[in-house]
């Protein structure tokens, strides 16, 4: 079945015009594919890069804000402890802090990073819970405020700070990793276009080869054959492989030159006969 289809397909003749149109269409399609791929990859990469950088920068900013907020609150507590005249407890913008934490968790993608953000929230809860003891400590005559701070609150504060720092480092590492991924992605995005262009070049070279073999070289040889025929009366017998109009033209030229040669011969014979007949007269 396949063989029948194949031989039927082979027997179908393509005209010269059709051959050139088809081959150029094939090259045009490859180039079109190449440009479509390039545009698609460009838009994909630009979206990917801007989203990636925006997410990472946002995460770094939020982590910084968390660090600053906890630092400010801790300084306020230190002021209260250092200044015996101050009795009012410092206020912490808890809702803002938690909002930052939530937005940070939303922007993080990997489980590892989300776990680190959870650790910050957990450390913060522990720190806040301990800081709430300050009011009772200040009222109490038995507990030394400074000792409470260094023994109870500062370890929790240090833990919170260290968790925020770890998260910050992790986000920075993620940014580095993402930029490496971006470089790889950039290289990847070139591949489809490069492949299509390489294929286009290959097809152009093949087209050049076929045009040379099937059209240019035969035309040169036909001209050489014609010149020989005209100049030296040599028989035109050039044939080449093909099934299109150029082959028909070559066959036509062959017939015409044959006829021409025959006519020239006849003419020559007539002239020779005429020459022979003249002395008789």
């Amino acid at each position: 079945m396949f063989r029948k289809f194949y031989s039927k397909l082979n027997s179908y003749k393509l005209s010269m015009k059709m051959k050139l149109t088809l081959s150029l269409c094939v090259i045009a399609i490859v180039l079109l594919v190449s440009s479509v791929i390039s545009i698609m990859e460009y838009s994909r990469m630009s979206h990917y890069v801007s989203d990636l950088i925006a997410d990472n920068i946002n995460s770094i900013n939020v982590a910084e804000r968390l660090a600053n907020a906890s630092n400010d609150y801790n300084l306020e507590i230190l002021k209260v402890i250092g200044d015996t005249a101050k009795t009012a407890l410092p206020k912490f913008k808890q809702e803002e802090f938690m909002e930052h934490c939530d937005s940070l968790k939303k922007s993080l993608t990997s489980d590892k990073m989300i776990n680190l953000a959870d650790s910050v929230v957990y450390s913060y809860s522990a720190y806040m819970l301990t800081s709430l003891e300050l009011k009772n400590v200040m009222l109490s005559d038995f507990i030394d405020t400074r000792a409470w701070y260094f023994n109870r609150l500062q370890p929790r504060y240090n833990r919170l700070r260290s968790d925020i720092d770890v998260l910050n480092t992790a986000i920075n590492n993620e940014l580095k990793k993402n930029s490496a991924t971006f470089e790889r992605g950039f290289y990847r995005s070139i591949i489809p276009g490069a492949v299509a262009v390489a294929v286009g070049l290959l097809l152009i070279l093949l087209l050049l080869f076929f045009i040379m073999v099937y059209y240019v070289n035969p035309i040169y040889k036909m001209i050489a054959g014609l010149k020989d025929n005209i100049a030296f009366g040599k028989k035109y017998n050039y044939t080449f492989d093909g099934d299109d109009q150029l082959t028909e033209l070559n066959e036509g030229i062959s017939e015409i030159t044959d006829d021409n040669q025959m006519l020239r011969k006849r003419l020559q014979d007539i002239r020779e006969n005429e020459k022979k007949e003249v002395p008789k007269d």
């Binding site: 791929i37 294929v199 097809l203 093949l206 076929f210």
Partner: protein, 486 residues
């Protein structure tokens, strides 16, 4: 060299690849959860491969007679361009597929090696997995055989290409007219694939897994759709079906055809098939016994299943697995390496030096020893009733020597590039024999991703050399240099 006829025939080989890429696109579209992420990569690859394949047909309308040189170039370029265009879906999809990894996976697929760079096969889109298995199907039959199917039987092109693409041993072992050989190979190959597909379905595999594993098993490839290969199915029946089709896929297709046509196993009663089946039986028993007494597997059932499965998998050059070979001791490894070198019978999809040549080698050795003891006696080497010509013996021994030289060279290159000596050697043996898995981290449940670029490229060359039985590539290179000098 006749570039016109070469480009036309190579173009046809690319059209076959484009057709299977199109089937993969259909798999992507028919995905019940929507188009998978490989649709664009496969569609672009299919279009590009089709356009390049069809291009020579616009100008070269008639298939002309080819010379021997043209034939070698057609085989060389058909395979090489199939590798290059076959890697496009992987490279365009991305993920773990860098350019080198894509080439490795493509060559591994077409040459039915089954070595992979994927650590998580199940994360790859189904359509891409189907394409991966399709390369096994195309390569199992041979990219040039597809071309032979449509060339008229009287054509000189057909005769020349059949002589070059189909192993000389298989042609001599199975007496048939050249034009018939290709059809017999194709009927048996497609028939076995279909039978394997049905058997897998009956054993409870999904249609997708069944078709992929059928392609893999009959082509003696080794790609699986699961991370744990066949071990993930935990099914004795699937293991048995795989073993049966691995054995059938590595036996001479001509003899299988005759057995089916004549309803008799008599055609299989020949020295090569007997040696092949006997070696598998003996080594299966040795391995199973070893597994049992060393306590690697506590039950006899497990020991027998693992022993026989891995012997069949390695000696048929498939490389599928039902357990990890990392912990296996050296004695087992030595047996496995011997099987990796010997592999299946000629006239099949198996790789390696082939059982036929091993038998010739042993018989030639026996004759040499007898001649040393009784110098005046004249001894012939017989294959059943047939007397082997000395020229055939010489060719077989030369091929085995060349095979071992290639192993040594490629192992050397891998060692120099930084891979440890044991893994370099076993990987080279495995890839040249088109088996796939080696040992350790490159073992049957491992992958080649961690290997450096030079070693990967060396193994790519090994796989190619192993698939076409070395000579056509050497001939093509020789022709290219001669052409340059001219």
């Amino acid at each position: 060299m006749n570039v016109k006829v070469i480009s036309r025939n190579v173009g046809f080989a690319l059209l076959v690849s484009a057709l299977f890429m199109f089937f993969s696109v259909l798999v992507s579209i028919s995905n019940p959860t929507g188009n998978d992420s490989a649709l664009a990569a496969l569609s672009i690859s299919c279009l590009i491969t089709f356009l390049v394949g069809i291009f020579p047909f616009i100008f070269v309308r008639k298939s002309e007679a080819i010379t021997l040189q043209d034939g070698y170039m057609i085989i060389f370029l058909s395979w090489t361009l199939s590798f290059i265009f076959g890697m496009l879906p992987y490279a365009l999809w991305g993920g773990p597929f860098s350019v080198i990894n894509s080439l490795f996976e493509s060559v591994s697929g077409y040459t039915t090696t089954g070595a992979t760079i994927l650590s998580n096969v199940e994360s790859i889109p189904k359509s891409l997995l189907f394409w991966r298995s399709s390369t096994h199907f195309i390569g199992g039959l041979g990219v040039v055989v597809f071309l032979l199917l449509i060339i008229p039987s009287s054509s000189p092109v057909r005769l020349r290409l059949t002589n070059m693409e189909v192993s000389s041993l298989s042609r001599d072992g199975y007496q048939s007219r050249t034009f018939k050989t290709v059809f017999i190979f194709t009927y048996v190959y497609v028939g076995l694939t279909f039978a394997a597909f049905i058997c897998y379905l009956l054993c409870g595999m999904s249609a997708f897994d069944a078709i992929n594993h059928a392609f893999s098993v009959v082509a003696t490839g080794g790609f699986s759709t699961k991370n744990l290969s066949l071990a993930s199915f935990h099914s004795v029946s699937i293991n048995i079906v795989s073993m049966v089709f691995m054995v059938l896929g590595s036996m001479h297709f001509g003899y299988i055809y005759l057995s089916i046509v004549n309803h008799s196993v008599k055609p299989l009663n020949n020295p090569v098939t007997k040696l092949y089946l006997l070696s598998m039986l003996v080594f299966s028993l040795i391995l199973s016994f070893y597994f049992k007494i060393t306590g690697i597997y506590t039950g006899w059932g497990d020991a027998l299943m693992n022993g026989s499965f891995h012997v069949i998998s390695m000696s048929s050059s498939t490389g599928l697995a039902i357990s990890d070979n990392v912990t296996w001791p050296f004695a087992v490894t030595a047996i496995i390496i011997f099987l990796m070198i010997q592999c299946g019978c000629s006239g099949s999809t198996a790789g390696g030096v082939k059982c036929d040549r091993t038998l010739v080698l042993f018989k030639a050795l026996g004759r040499q020893i007898r001649t040393a003891i009784h110098p005046s006696t004249v001894k012939e080497i017989k294959f059943g009733e047939r007397v082997m010509k000395d020229e055939m013996v010489y060719q077989s021994v030369l091929y085995i020597t060349l095979y071992l030289i290639v192993i040594l060279i490629s192992s050397g290159v891998c060692i120099l590039s930084g891979v440890d000596s044991e893994n370099s050697f076993v990987s080279s043996v495995s890839c040249l024999g088109n088996i796939g898995p080696a040992l350790g981290r490159y073992g049957n449940l491992g992958n080649y991703d961690s290997m450096n670029v030079i070693s990967k490229l060396t193994l790519v060359v090994d796989m190619f050399l192993g698939r076409v039985e070395i000579y056509p590539i050497l001939a093509a290179f020789s022709l290219m240099f001669t052409f340059k000098r001219k």
